[in-house]
């Protein structure tokens, strides 16, 4: 069962953070359906290491709202098949399509995804 903090963060905390720091992205589901949502984007995060100690080429980490219209639900995510159109660099004119490769966490209404 989610804690009171989790519930509060999900209903009011993260939506406020998203309003302040979020950027528009387009989430592309494997079947071709798209959804325009906001995401907090961490560009050039430190490399994540796999079980063998090899660095994975994680290029972006995004935080999105676990929501059926304002974000994406956990059970809608299809790692390896879904992609996100995102500005890879802040001043880019065009978006870059990146593959959702990993779900890093899913807590308090916030889903953290690694994109390559």
């Amino acid at each position: 069962m989610a804690s009171r903090f989790d519930q509060s963060f999900q209903t009011s905390g993260f939506p406020q953070l998203l309003a302040e720091f979020g950027e528009p992205v387009v989430y592309r589901f494997a079947g071709g359906v798209t959804r325009s949502i906001d995401a907090i984007i961490e560009r050039n995060p430190p490399a994540i290491f796999d079980a063998a100690g090899q660095p994975m080429l994680v290029e972006l980490i995004i935080r999105i709202y676990r929501h059926s219209t304002l974000g994406v639900l956990s059970n809608e995510i299809n790692r390896g098949s879904d992609s996100v159109d995102v500005l890879k660099r802040v001043d880019d004119v065009a978006t870059t399509r990146m593959t959702v490769t990993k779900k890093l966490s899913d807590d308090s209404g916030v889903i953290v995804l690694a994109l390559n």
């Binding site: 080429l57 299809n78 390896g80 098949s81 990146m98 593959t99």
Partner: protein, 161 residues
Amino acid sequence: MATAISEQIAAKLQTRLQGITVAGGYEVTVSEVVRGTRFGGWRPQHLQLVINQGTMTRNEELSHPGNPPATAYDLPFEIYGLLMPSESATDKIDTLRNQFSSDVIKAISTPQASWHNWDTLAILSTISDVEDVTQEESSGFKLTLTVTFRVTENNPYQGRS
């Protein structure tokens, strides 16, 4: 602009791999064959091939004297096959890996009679192990191909028999 023999071989390898299609008689259709940029420049996809070139080493045994002499090199290519089927897919991942890696070997070694010399650019080619590459976010394989070719000692743009 001249194209180095090593680059010509790499380009031919990419072209052969791009021919992997069901319509062309293979079991799968490759989604993309990638040679990376400095920062990668590609995004992972199901049934994708990524070509990484390894260290080119001098092969003394197959070099020969002359004026100018001919120098032989062993050029390894690591070919990564990525498998990222849908999370709900029921296909056996080993079956996919077997099909995809077999198609890669078939594509590299076509045409059968002369695949190893890359249209006379090289003198020998060797396909090594198909290694399992399984990570949290993807599965797949790594296949190593070593191409041995000879060039004029002072001109790597000029192939030698």
